[in-house]
Point group: C2
Chain length 404, copies 2
């Protein structure tokens, strides 16, 4: 069960998008593992992929196809990541695209492939291609919820959200889904997210909107710092609502806010659904000189195994937080200027435990399922927030036992 | 029990050094917790301290004193780190030095203070000062083994080593001791190390020797990336053997090798003695263009919780190692050029699982208590090695339960 989230909310269809989901037996029987997303002709597409130098074969092929043509279909399989598979893996990803191209009468470069599942195993191309006709037959504009389930691997809950905004007197819909349980198993829990709107937006503007949204969502969450070889996020604008946004301004801002809100909701869900996670913790670093130093401090705290195990035990061990801030590599950081709060409780002030702080206050905050570590550097005006979870013995059990 | 180490070897006295150990009741009764190291007049001293921006009060005072005068005494207490204690902590460290200065008739700036233990509690200056006469009475050139025990906190074994080298027809002795159980509890397991030789070496040369030794020992070990606020390493040259080394050359090299060997042995012991550690793992990265990229890859692998939990389970999960190498941030890294070995077994070649690799081979290597992850980047001639341990459920248990 994810921390503070019980079930998928209602997902609204987005005109111009249809989903087809089927069981292809990629790795397991009787499991939805093949998902096709159909994009109306004229749709624009923005995308972001893993920064891991060793990206999976489908990521390489998707990047190539995106550069060559306007996508009409996204083809997603679970059960096999097609990563660490060398040249045969690239060929396998291309064969899957060719299979779908043959059935739909478009060029293979108009198809973007995505895979998630075990690393290092050959992709079962035949079973995937054999499953495509059923997926196409199932295509349905109301398929968002089923798609949210169809892309799950180790997720314990399906993840999605819809928003609507009024632009030029018309209702614009944005719906997004995601999978991933906190990147704590990059070989199984790749982050994949698909978001669509029925507004018309140029590809360049759409990419700007996506980059901004990512920097306030998926690029601000971390469980353990490990990055999957397959992570991908795609944003589609179908234009089917008859509203065109072709320049920066209020309309783009309204749409961008809705997209960022959806991305943040989905990104936080990855953390809330992290295996072994019992706490959802926001780490906010304020008073920094620039984004870089705020993020460096936030990630050092969020990745410290000593901080994360203390979170798990609801132990307000402020010495560990202080030590993590101190080793983050911020130049000329002055200990006496730093303050650290847990929610509203000040635990560190002027380089030492706050005079009015009591252990009971700290324990009360940390016993909650959802709280804030608030670090104020006292040297600037920039604030950044990242979201993380605790580090439980269950995490080690899951990740040590997995595969064996 | 430390992995692959059962007990302290014989430690040889170093002419010009005496140790006095006593029980001052800093935090616990009936425990050796106060240690004085006496340096012969004319000794030179090199030192290195934590890079944590929030260093403890004794570190600040030791740096000041070292800049002002030639040290004659080192004063070490366990049970209390005097860290996160603000201005009163600095005053407390100075009072301890003043106490020892009064008893020995030297200036307080000739004393370097060191503390290790809990963070954020006031240092019990009175009990420390009251213990000093007993420590001075106990001063003994044969006290190295007792000192190795006296500086322990959560260590399960005392750590030390001696070496002798022939220089200019005379026997030069080097002995070193250390404490710390792998920096996995920075609030209790500060790394402290004290090394001495009876050769005469100028302070500048001695610092060069120490810096080189650290970069091949204490600066190459990691359990979880957390750095203590109190880490310190001190190297003393007493000159009592009547051999002077005043320039680079064969003599300095022989001495430097002995010191590096001792530091490496002690640094590896910190890892072998990490709480919850069941494996001692060397991560060697070769074929790199420079030291920086080799270390970046090595530390990314050594810090990856996913790799470390796999080590704990003896699970040859090469996808996790490959993903960690890929996200280390090495520019233009070519997957096809990278090879990964476990000891002599090739697990990854040309971007995929090696054709002749079998899971049984990997499991056989990883079931050992001591093995090598050997990563070859295939783009240069630089090699670097770091040492780490696995990440067990016991680690989480210890660090979550600790303090509560």
């Amino acid at each position: 069960m994810a921390v503070g989230y019980s079930q998928l909310p209602e997902l609204l269809p987005v005109a111009g998008i249809r989903w087809g989901i089927t069981q292809a037996g990629v790795r397991y029987k009787n499991r939805r593992d093949l998902v096709v997303m159909e994009l109306a002709s004229g749709s624009t597409v923005a995308a972001a992929f893993t920064r891991n130098a060793f990206c999976a074969a489908p990521v390489t092929v998707a990047r190539e196809h995106l550069a060559a043509a306007a996508p009409r279909y996204l083809l997603i399989n679970t059960g096999n990541a097609n990563a660490g598979t060398g040249a045969p893996g690239l060929a396998a990803a291309r064969e899957c695209c060719a299979g779908l191209a043959g059935l739909t009468g478009i060029g293979p470069e108009q198809i973007l492939p995505f895979s998630t599942g075990v690393i290092g195993e050959p992709l079962p191309v035949e079973r995937i291609v054999a499953g495509l006709p059923a997926a196409l037959t199932a295509l349905d504009a109301g398929g968002w919820a089923e798609a949210a389930h169809g892309i799950m691997t180790t997720d314990t809950v399906a993840k999605g959200l819809s928003k609507q905004v009024e632009i030029a007197g018309k209702t614009i819909t944005v719906t997004g889904i995601a999978k991933g349980s906190g990147m704590i198993r990059p070989d199984m829990a790749t982050m994949l997210s698909y978001i669509a709107t029925d507004a018309a937006v140029s590809r360049e503007l759409l990419q700007e909107v996506l980059d901004h949204a990512l920097n306030h969502s998926f690029n601000r969450v971390t469980v353990d710092g490990d990055t999957s070889t397959n992570d991908a996020c795609v944003l589609v604008a179908t234009g089917a609502a008859g509203v065109t946004i072709d320049a920066p301004g209020a309309a783009l801002e309204a749409l961008g806010t809705a997209i960022t809100d959806i991305c943040r909701f989905l990104a936080q869900l990855l953390i809330r659904d992290g295996e072994g996670a019992t706490k959802f913790v926001s780490v906010r670093v304020g008073g920094g000189r620039d984004t870089d130093e705020c993020l460096r401090v936030a990630y050092t705290v969020a990745h410290s195994p000593l901080v994360k195990t203390a979170l798990s035990a609801s132990d307000p061990n402020w010495g560990r937080i202080l030590a993590a801030v101190g080793r983050a590599g911020v130049e000329n950081l002055v200990l006496e200027d730093v303050e650290i709060y847990l929610d509203e409780v000040c635990i560190v002030r002027q380089g030492a435990r706050a005079a009015d702080y009591t252990e009971e206050q700290g324990k009360r905050v940390m016993s909650q399922a959802d709280f804030l570590i608030d670090i104020r550097l006292g040297r600037g005006s920039v604030t950044e927030t990242v979201w993380t979870c605790d580090f439980s013995a269950e995490y080690v059990r899951i990740n040590a036992d997995y595969r064996s």
